[in-house]
Subunit: 196 residues, 4 copies
DNA sequence: TATGAATGAGACTTCATTCAT
DNA sequence: AATGAATGAAGTCTCATTCAT
C-alpha cells in the first residue's frame, strides 16, 4: 500500500483533524474520507482497515516527533542538557500542533487493547531515547549507577505524559513550554531541598 | 439508588470481573447480569444505564482505595514517610486485586469523554491527598517552598500511573510492591546523585 | 374481579388522568398504579392485564356516556329533537371532562387492532341509539324511508367524532357545544339550500 | 433523500404490504427490508428512521391520492358534481388498493402523536380540496352562504373516513364504490325529505 | 486507481407481568 | 388483599468493509 502517494498523507492528516474535532468515537471512516476528499473505498487502497489508519497516523507523526527529539539531543553535550532538550522539544512540538496533541493524549487512548499495544510498539523508540540519556548520565557520573532503567523511564515518560494530558484537558490554556525547566528540575532533583 | 442492597455490590463486582476478562468493548450488560446472577432488567433497578455501572464501579472502588490510603498516611509523622506509605498502599491494593488493576489501568480508559470526565472527578480526591503531602513537606522544610503544586502532583501521579500500567501490560509478572521504595527514592531525590 | 371495590374505580380514574397527561405510549402500568395509590401488583387483582384496564375504562366511561344520552333523548318527542339532544349531550359531556376527551379521541386510538375491536363492541350500543333515532324519524315521516341505516349511522357518528377530534387537537380552544345546532342543521338538511 | 431511486419506492411498497399483513406494531424494519429485498441498513440510506418510512409512505400515497382527486374534479362543472367525483375517486382508489386502505384507515392511526401530526399536515391538502368545493357551491348559489367551512369540512371528511374505516373493519366485504351516490345524497340533502 | 451504494451483525434498555412475603 | 423486587423478551440503528462499475 503505496505510502509515497500524496493521498496517503492526505488521509492521515484528515484523520488527525477529524478525530481532534469529533472525538475518537465519532470519527467514522466516511468522515475521514470526506475530509480527505476521497471516496470511502479509496481509504482501503491505502490502509488495511480503520485501525491501520490510526496506527499509521501514530507511526508517521510519532516518527517525526522522535526524529526531531533525537536531532535536538545530538547537539547537547551532557545528560542533563539532553533531558532538558527532550522535554522542551516534546512540549514544543505538541504545543505547535494542537490537533495532534488532542489526538495522541486523549482520543487515541480510547482505542482497544490491540491498538494500544501497537501504539506502545511505536513508543518504544521514544523510550529508548530516554534510556540512552539515563545511561549517558550514569556514565558521566551525574546519575546514580544503581538507578533502575525501567523505573526511571517510566517516571520520565509518565511525568511528561501526565503534564501534557492535563494541559490538553485544560484546553491548552496555559503555556506548556514555560514549565519545561521546572519539570526538568523536578526530574533531576526530586522533591527535596538540595544544593543547586 | 439502593446502594445498600447486596445486589448493588454484586453487580459492581461482576462488572469488574467481566470487564477484566473480556475487555471493555466486549462487556455487554447481559454478560454482567449473568455473572452477577441476576436478570438483565435487574441491572436497571440499581443503575441508570451502562455508563452508570462503570462510574459507580470507579467511585466505589476508588473510594475505598483513597480511604485506605488516607488511613495509612494518618499514622505517618512526616511527608517523606507519608509519600512512601501512599506509594506502598497504591501498589499494594492494586497488586491484591488483579482484576481491578486491569479495569482501572486499561479498560476504563477506553470509555468515552463523558465517562472519563466523571472518572476524573473521582480522581480529584486522590490528587488532593498528594497535594496535602506536598504541602506538609513544604511546611516541614523538607520540600522546596517554590515547588509548583500542580507539576508535582502530575509528576507523582503520572509516575505511579505509568508504573502500574506498565506492570499490568506486562501481565503483572513482576512485583509491583517491591519497587515502591525505589520509586519513592526517585520522586524524593530525582535522578542525580545526592547524599542520602 | 371485584368491580365494586373502591380501588377498581380508583385505578380507572388514575388511568384516564395518566393517559391524558402522558399520552398512551408513556402510560406504564407502574405510573397508573402510583397515581392510583396502589402497588403495581394490586392492579392485577382488579384487571386481567393492561389492555383490560383500557377496555374497562372505555366500558365504564362510555356506559355512563350512553346512559346520559339515552336519558336525555327520552324526554324528546320527535327524531329531530332527539338528534339535537344527542349531539348536545355528546358535545356537552366531552366538554365537561377534558381528560376523558383526550383519552377517547386521541390516545386510545393508538391502541392495537384487538383493543380497537373491543372498543367498537362498546360503541355498538351508542350506534344503536343513532339507529333508533333514524328509525323514529322514518316512522314519523320526517326522514326518507329509503335511507340506508348503516350509512346514516356512519355519517352521524363520523361527523360527531371528527368534530370532537378536531376540537381536541385544537386544544379545545373553542366551544364545542356552541356548534351543536349548526352540526344538527347540517345533518338534517345537508349542504344545499332548503326551506327551513 | 434519493427519492428518484427505484429502491425508495420499493421500500415504501414493501412497508405498505408488511404493515397491512402484520399490523403496525409487528412491522419491524427487518421485515420491511426483507420484503423489499434489501439489507436492513439500506433502509437507512433512503429514510432517516422508521417513522420517516411511515411519513414518506403517507406523503407519497396520499399525494397521488389527492392528485387523482384534483384531476377528476377539474373535469366537473359544478360543486355538486365535484363532490360526487371526489367521493367516487376517494372510494375508488381505496377499493383498488386493499393494502393501502388497511394501512391508512387502521394501522397508521396507531402511531404516536408526532407521526399523527405529520400525517395531519399531509391531510391538509385534501381538506383544502373539500373547502374549495364548498366555496364553489356557495358561489354557485347551490350551498348556503352561511355554512361554516370548518364544520362542513369535518362532516364531509368525517363521513368519508368513517364509512371507509367501517368497510375495512368489515373486511371490505361489500362494495365501497356502490355507496358513493347515496353518501353524496346524504351530504347534499341531509336526513330529511326534500324535493329532488 | 477510484468510486460509493449496499451490506448485516450486534447490543442497550423498557416495561408488562409474576410471585414470595 | 396487598406489596414491589425481579424478570427477560424484543427491536432500531450504526458503521466498517466490500465489490461491481
Amino acid at each position: 500500500m503505496n505510502k509515497n502517494r500524496p493521498k496517503y498523507k492526505q488521509i492521515i492528516d484528515a484523520a488527525v483533524e477529524v478525530i481532534a474535532e469529533n472525538g475518537y468515537h465519532s470519527s467514522q471512516v466516511s468522515k475521514i474520507a470526506k475530509k480527505a476528499g476521497v471516496a470511502d473505498g479509496t481509504i482501503y487502497l491505502y490502509f488495511k482497515n480503520k485501525e491501520d489508519i490510526l496506527v499509521s497516523l501514530f507511526q508517521e507523526k510519532m516518527g517525526q516527533f522522535i526524529e526531531k527529539i533525537e536531532e535536538d539531543i545530538k547537539t547537547k553535550s551532557n545528560a542533563k542538557e539532553k533531558l532538558l532538550a527532550m522535554i522542551k522539544t516534546h512540549y514544543g512540538l505538541l504545543s505547535e500542533d494542537h490537533h495532534l496533541a488532542i489526538v495522541t493524549q486523549l482520543e487515541l487512548r480510547q482505542s482497544n487493547k490491540d491498538l494500544r499495544l501497537k501504539i506502545n510498539d511505536v513508543l518504544k523508540r521514544y523510550l529508548l531515547v530516554i534510556d540512552h540519556i539515563v545511561e549517558d548520565g550514569k556514565a558521566e557520573g551525574l546519575f546514580h549507577e544503581s538507578l533502575d532503567l525501567r523505573l526511571v523511564r517510566q517516571m520520565v515518560f509518565g511525568t511528561l505524559d501526565e503534564t501534557v494530558t492535563n494541559w490538553v484537558m485544560n484546553d491548552q490554556k496555559y503555556s506548556l513550554t514555560d514549565q519545561a525547566e521546572e519539570v526538568h528540575e523536578l526530574l533531576i532533583h526530586g522533591l527535596t531541598i538540595h544544593a543547586k
